[in-house]
């Protein structure tokens, strides 16, 4: 049985949130014509449309515009890769409109088991390339800036810090140790004022997040989310007998209000984002370094920000994390040496993820070991694989990333 087009009607989307329902209804004629694999993936996005970032909404809208613009022959050709995927009768019959996320999990299992995952991937790649070419993303307002800070609580070890990043930019081994993290917070706030675009400027913090800007900046910190983390850990513990997949499904369906993230002062989009970071990101619930890396990754992937500042703080030891998961933790113990390694890799991954966004060639990236005199800066204006022994502070390094010395 191949993945054929589907009959839909307005009532099918009654359970969708308002904006998602409206979008589905407006595009009903188009949705009718899409093969099930692509349709369910689109619906998985549409059902969450109300809580999507502007960049994500733009991507969904561009896809629909692209598809609507195709004549029947073009549409059939564009969909052929998805339409040729073979579905099982069980899968065809299972609930999908009301819970496309769960259906996509089943579809995933089916594609892996039937060795069709590569065919799916090829179809998806072709489709994405086609719609991005036909309806491209708008140019960005300014070069993107991402900064990864390794907190000064961590101490230097024999580990070769910034080993991977040094090859990409200029290494500064003599950074003024008095350089202030607040300089970077001010940079984010300044860019947010100059380019006032919703969810385009982010601060992520692996500690208590004290002093993070909130005006026009999306700020997320590990410490203040502790009650949410603990509630989710309880959910995991309660469901542990059901197995990892069932727990994951249960977590994926967690409503922010169920873990205390609701109320008139709560940014619903950001709250849902935070819950997804903690429910979909393995390890984010127990390790602050993983939380920062994954949050930065998801912020870049989903919100496509112009500015992102991510600060890594020490994570707890593995033993301490085990205790937390079992509910037997007293005072957490910290693994400073391990945290340094994790933060270094996290910084590298943050750069990689920034490079995946539009305008990558113009992007600016800074990784800084706070209080310990080391930084790497990557910019079109700085040579790759070079070392600069000048004694500079982080403000000066940032200046050099944006204008020639």
């Amino acid at each position: 049985m191949t993945a054929s087009a589907t009959v839909l009607n307005v009532d099918d989307f009654r359970g969708y949130p308002p904006a998602g329902r409206a979008l589905a209804t407006e595009n009903l004629v188009l949705l009718h014509q899409l093969p099930r694999p692509l349709l369910t993936l689109l619906l998985r996005e549409i059902i969450a449309y109300d809580w999507k970032f502007p960049a994500e909404r733009d991507e969904i809208d561009r896809q629909l515009r692209y598809l609507r613009g195709l004549n029947p022959g073009e549409l059939a050709a564009a969909m052929s890769g998805f339409a040729s995927l073979k579905m099982s009768p069980d899968l065809e019959q299972s609930e999908w409109i009301g819970n496309p996320a769960r259906f996509s999990e089943r579809l995933s299992a089916h594609l892996w088991a039937t060795h069709q995952i590569d065919a799916f991937s090829n179809a998806a790649e072709s489709y994405v390339a086609a719609f991005n070419t036909a309806v491209p993303e708008k140019p960005i307002a300014a070069p993107r800036l991402a900064i990864a800070v390794i907190g000064n609580e961590m101490s230097p070890t024999a580990y070769p810090l910034f080993r991977k990043l040094r090859a990409k930019g200029t290494y500064f081994p003599n950074v003024d140790r008095e350089s202030d993290y607040k300089t970077l917070l001010a940079t984010v706030a300044d860019r947010a004022a100059r380019y006032p675009i919703p969810y385009a400027h982010w601060c992520i913090h692996g500690g208590d997040g004290a002093g993070l800007p909130t005006k026009s900046v999306a700020s997320v910190a590990y410490g203040p989310l502790t009650p949410v983390r603990r509630a989710l850990i309880r959910t995991m513990q309660d469901g542990s007998a059901l197995g990892p997949e069932a727990v994951r499904t249960r977590l994926a369906e967690t409503d922010p209000a169920a873990v205390g993230l609701a109320g008139p002062d709560v940014d619903a989009v950001l709250a849902r984002f935070s819950v997804r970071v903690l429910t979909e990101g393995a390890g984010t619930q127990i390790y602050s370094t993983t939380f920062v890396q994954w949050t930065a990754r998801e912020a870049l992937r989903r919100a496509r920000p112009l500015t992102l500042l991510a600060k890594f703080a020490p994570r707890q030891t593995e033993e301490s994390a085990d205790e937390e998961l079992q509910g037997s933790q007293g005072k957490p113990a910290f693994d400073l040496a391990g945290s340094l390694v994790d933060a270094d890799m996290g910084a590298y991954y943050t750069w990689i993820n920034q490079q995946r966004l539009s305008g990558a060639d113009e992007s600016i990236f800074l990784a800084w070991f706070e209080g310990h005199g080391e930084a790497v800066a990557i910019s079109p204006l700085l040579a790759a694989g070079k070392e600069c022994k000048d004694k500079v502070d982080v403000a000066e390094i940032l200046r050099r990333t944006q204008s020639a010395t």
Binding site: A109, Y127, M236, Y287, A321, D322, S328
Partner: protein, 405 residues
């Protein structure tokens, strides 16, 4: 669900985001590139001469097989990447593999796993030589006959001669299949050290053992070990010639579940000397928590444990001079360049890097200091063991590796 972890989501994101990098290369080209990178690294790191490169040759050793042939198979459940092993930055993590195993063994640089990348189902595929397609998280036996069943049935070997030491409760049924003509009572005994430990721990003594009891790393939640009766526990203690109290006491001094597994393996080798012993290490899968430092620690530990096992092989008269050791990851992990994943953390994308890994073979008659570049499959292991021991795995899809025989 099979494999789980939202793999289709990741595939979708993979397509929807970065389309650069190696995308223009075919999977085969990428796999070849991986293989050649490993080869070049090995030549530089271990001084393997071009003359040691093998690309298919006639069998040399079959006629000289020692009497009482034994085999120890060690899989790295969780998979490792080249970046952290067979690449310049990774060499510090595998000193024993590089300096002891490679010079004295043969390495296959391109072992491809075309199956589902979940640890239980992938390990089941390794032991059957067929890509199993069952739910990775289900408590099921493999559908196809296992290597242990072929071995025992065709060579009329007793139950005490084939054992599996496995990392988590989910592996409890891997010793024998549900295949007609094989099945119950004809396979290997399976020891789950964590289950033993949970039963052996003094009452109310969870503290101090937490780090050894984590069932798997796919879910951060502690899963209570499945029950072991007092009778079973004491039978096992009798088998291993270690008192329950000593076992629990010794376990407390160990750092990780894999150390516990190797401790049990050593006891088993000393007491029963099974001819076919399969050990699945799993610490490396801590990578799922997103902590790069713990992942690296686990690779270094696995490297050390392999060396310790070889020392036992050389020390024990039952094994010395007649044992072939196979070491291979069950599969790889996602590459940094695959945007659908998160680098080392997972094995979700099914990209070539996560499917292409390596295998080292060491033992009497195995060519030393040799590299085999040609692509082989992970399902080739069972028929290779078949040729080594002299049984025919008729349902197996793989092919024996002549370079080992």
């Amino acid at each position: 669900m099979l494999g789980g972890e939202g793999k289709i989501t990741q595939r979708w994101e993979n397509s929807a985001r970065n389309l650069g990098g190696l995308r223009s290369a075919s999977p085969r080209e990428v796999a070849n590139a991986i293989s050649w990178s490993r080869r070049d690294f090995l030549r530089a790191a271990s001084g393997i001469a071009a003359g040691g490169l093998l690309s298919g040759f006639s069998p040399l050793r079959a006629a000289n097989l020692p009497k009482g042939q034994k085999a120890v198979v060690v899989t790295f459940g969780g998979g490792t990447r080249d970046e952290e092993t067979f690449m310049p930055d990774g060499r510090e993590n595998i000193p024993h593999l590089l300096n002891e195993f490679i010079p004295q063994g043969t390495i296959f640089t391109q072992v491809v796993n075309r199956g589902i990348l979940g640890h239980y189902v992938a390990t089941a595929s390794l032991v059957t030589g067929v890509y199993e397609t069952f739910n990775n998280f289900a408590a099921v036996t493999p559908d196809n006959p296992t290597v242990f069943e072929y071995y025992r049935k065709q060579l009329r070997r007793p139950a005490s001669d084939a054992w599996v030491i496995a990392p988590s409760n989910g592996f409890g049924l891997i010793g024998e299949s549900s295949h007609s003509g094989h099945g119950t009572g004809t396979g290997a005994g399976v020891i789950l050290p964590k289950r033993l430990l949970a039963a052996a721990m003094p009452a109310n003594a969870v503290g101090g053992y937490d780090h050894l009891l984590r069932d798997n790393y796919e879910s951060p939640v502690y899963a209570p070990a499945m029950g072991v009766s007092d009778e079973q526990l004491h039978q096992m203690a009798e088998l291993l010639k270690v008192s329950v109290a000593d076992f629990a006491s010794h376990a407390r001094s160990l750092r990780s579940p894999d150390e516990l597994s190797v401790y049990v393996a050593k006891q088993l080798m000393e007491q029963l000397a099974p001819s076919l012993l399969w050990i699945t290490l799993h610490d490396i899968d801590v990578a799922h928590a997103g902590t790069y430092s713990l992942y690296i620690d686990a690779i270094q530990r696995s490297d050390r444990l392999c060396a310790e096992l070889w020392q036992v092989i050389e020390k024990e008269p039952e094994y010395a001079g007649k044992t072939t050791m196979f070491i291979l990851p069950d599969f790889g992990r996602d590459s940094d360049t695959s945007s659908g994943g998160n680098g080392f953390q997972h094995h979700r994308t099914g990209d070539v890097y996560s499917r292409t890994t390596w295998m080292i073979v060491r033992g009497p008659g195995v060519r030393e200091n040799a590299i085999v570049d040609r692509p082989v499959e992970s399902t080739d292991l069972v028929p290779t063991l078949g040729s080594l021991f002299g049984f025919s795995p008729d349902a197996c899809r793989g092919k024996a590796l002549p370079e080992v025989l």
